[in-house]
């Protein structure tokens, strides 16, 4: 399913804005924008599961947090190179997704949601209650990964501006890669599975395999977001594994428009920006944000991204 043209145009405009933003923005806002972009990566990876394959996971933060913790543990005190530590962290996430996926993908519906939640919560409690992982305080990163090419190190991840642009590049790369994957035969199978899995099987597709591959891919990309969170924040704590993180990401996906990729990225931005704006206006910002969410659900059937969809005769997905 392609995102509506208007939405993609909006995203292109936002992209240009993001490239230019640091020239005028203050440090706090640059930090915040970096956070938003990381969450956009996380949301897009969840959309692969939720919007395109119909797998609603409430445990996506498991793959997200595990990568961040991996970096914190391995590269928290002595700097490691991003070139190997990033793929390694993503691999850890992918493996976690593989193990959980094999166990969990046999269930469906609300049971799938709850079992994914259960696994994430179990890891959350384990990490929170164990000393090795720093308990509920978490682990600090005193240094950041290095990014050097044959001794030339133009990028210093200790520098907020560099982190900002690296994150931007990664977010764009994530979008491009996912877009390409979703247009491929693999992507078509996922969409078919979401629409009518039994029919896919009777057409000869071994659907379990594809769901698992999707789960692993989504997990790896969540790991990318988690790694960058550790880089950006300089700290990993158990809340990054908790259901609030998973739930928040799910809200971004639904709010932005499921199954459009651009929508969830927009949803991440919308939720974070509104949180900031509302909290500047009033101490009781959650009231406004909650009201906004309720209004979107009632009046915008396809989420925020749905605003750009052309009117069709007959409902798309109900």
């Amino acid at each position: 399913m392609e995102a509506p043209r208007g939405l993609r145009v909006l995203l292109a405009v936002i992209l240009i804005g993001l490239v230019l933003f640091p020239l005028v923005g203050e440090r706090f806002y640059i930090q915040y924008a970096t956070k938003i972009m990381i969450l956009a990566i996380f949301a897009m990876s969840l959309d692969l599961l939720v919007g395109y394959t119909g797998l609603v996971s409430l445990g996506h933060a498991l793959c997200y947090g595990i990568a961040g913790y991996a970096l914190a543990l391995v590269g928290g005190h002595a700097a490691v190179s991003l070139w190997w530590s990033l793929p390694a962290a993503m691999l850890v996430s992918a493996l976690a997704a593989l193990v959980v996926g094999v166990l969990v993908l046999r269930t469906a519906g609300i049971y799938f949601i709850m079992v994914t939640l259960a696994f994430a919560q179990m890891l959350y409690y384990y990490v929170r209650d164990s000393e090795y992982f720093g308990g509920s305080d978490g682990i600090y990163l005193d240094v950041r990964p290095t990014l050097s090419l044959f001794g030339w190190a133009p990028v210093d991840l200790g520098n907020q501006l560099h982190r900002y642009y690296l994150t931007l590049a990664l977010a764009v790369a994530t979008y491009v890669v996912l877009r390409s994957v979703l247009r491929s035969p693999f992507g078509r199978v996922l969409i078919g599975i979401r629409d009518n899995e039994p029919r896919m099987r009777s057409l000869g597709f071994p659907t379990f395999r594809y769901k698992l591959a999707c789960f692993v891919l989504a997990g790896a990309l969540a790991g990318l977001a988690g790694y960058m969170t550790a880089v950006q924040d300089g700290i990993m704590n158990p809340e990054q594994l908790g259901w609030h993180r998973s739930g928040e990401a799910l809200m971004m996906v639904i709010l932005g428009g499921m199954g459009t990729l651009a929508g969830p990225a927009l949803g991440a931005g919308a939720l974070m920006v509104l949180e900031l704006v509302f909290s500047i206006w009033t101490k009781y910002w959650q009231l406004l944000l909650g009201g906004f969410i309720v209004a979107v659900v009632l009046f915008l059937p396809g989420g925020l991204g749905g605003v750009f969809a052309r009117r069709r005769g007959g409902a798309d997905r109900g």
Binding site: I110, Q121, Y125, D129, I293, L298
Partner: protein, 288 residues
């Protein structure tokens, strides 16, 4: 663990389980009959607790505050269903999830505006504010026993309602085939409004009942929410019987888990859920 401690934990576990049952039964009714995933359910529990706090303060009497609070909760449920929830029946479950998540934020902030963010307490009503002796060294608060008793009464009441009355029959029929029930001339809209109000009232009542022992604090809704979903999944969606069995199971597992396996205390509940789902993928009493 000596016998006295075991007995205390057992009583605690049962009491916690029965309280969970009140909350979970409302949730499973709303999900099973109306097909609505209600994330705001924990908020209703919290609202109940805060109602107990404020109404007891206003009226001066816990016993009068209870029915007043329930009445207010029923009104809230009716209003919410009529204003918001009924627009979601035909839509993807995920939109219900998102809307009710928005409601969590709204209710949380309203509570903050009206009552602030402090922790409050509600006094145990004087009538029940004593303990009975279990052994030479240990005694158990009567109020907790009373709580369990009330929950059991309500459980029996719900069984009677659902299995033995026409309303209950309509509820069961409506969960299986909404269109058919409509075609038979039954006002499904009204039915759903009642079911939703019932669910809200149960959660709020649980909050009111628990207020004297659990204290009244901002995050209480969230904690209870997740556990409630675990309970209804273990019990089987839509099954009140299942909710009872699962609540007791989880109540006991949680309480004993903390005593016997403190290292994995938080995880116990999820391990139990995973184990049950492996054995019975649709929950204990779930239908296909």
């Amino acid at each position: 663990m000596d016998f006295a401690t075991f007995l205390i934990q057992l009583l605690n576990g049962v009491q916690y389980g029965l309280l969970l049952f009140l909350i979970a039964s409302g949730l499973t009714l709303i999900f099973g009959i109306m097909g609505v995933i209600n994330l705001a359910h924990g908020s209703f529990y919290m609202i109940g607790a805060y109602l107990a706090f404020s109404l007891t303060g206003l009226i001066g009497n816990f016993w009068l505050a209870l029915p007043a609070g329930v009445a207010l909760a029923v009104l809230l449920g009716i209003a919410l269903e009529w204003l918001l929830i009924r627009h979601l029946y035909r839509r993807d479950h995920l939109y219900q999830v998102l809307l009710t998540y928005g409601l969590i934020l709204v209710f949380g902030e309203l509570r903050s505006i009206l009552f602030g963010d402090d922790v409050h307490s509600v006094a145990v009503p004087a009538l029940l504010n004593f303990s009975i002796r279990l052994t030479d060294t240990l005694s158990y608060p009567v109020y907790r026993l009373a709580m369990s008793g009330v929950c059991l009464l309500l459980a029996a009441g719900m069984y009677w309602l659902i299995a033995r009355t026409r309303l209950g029959m309509t509820i069961r029929a409506g969960s299986v085939n909404r269109e058919m029930v409509q075609a038979l001339g039954i006002n499904v809209g009204l039915l759903y409004r009642l079911v939703f109000a019932l669910g809200v009232a149960l959660a709020a009542f649980a909050g009111m009942l628990a207020a004297p022992v659990a204290s009244v604090y901002p995050g209480m809704g969230n904690q209870v929410l997740i556990i409630s979903f675990v309970v209804i999944v273990i019990g089987g969606i839509g099954s009140v019987r299942g909710a009872l069995a699962a609540s007791l199971l989880i109540g006991l597992a949680d309480v004993f888990g903390q005593v016997v396996f403190p290292q994995i205390a938080g995880m116990t509940v999820y391990l139990v859920m995973a184990a049950v789902l492996v054995w019975r993928p649709r929950g204990l009493f779930g239908s296909a």
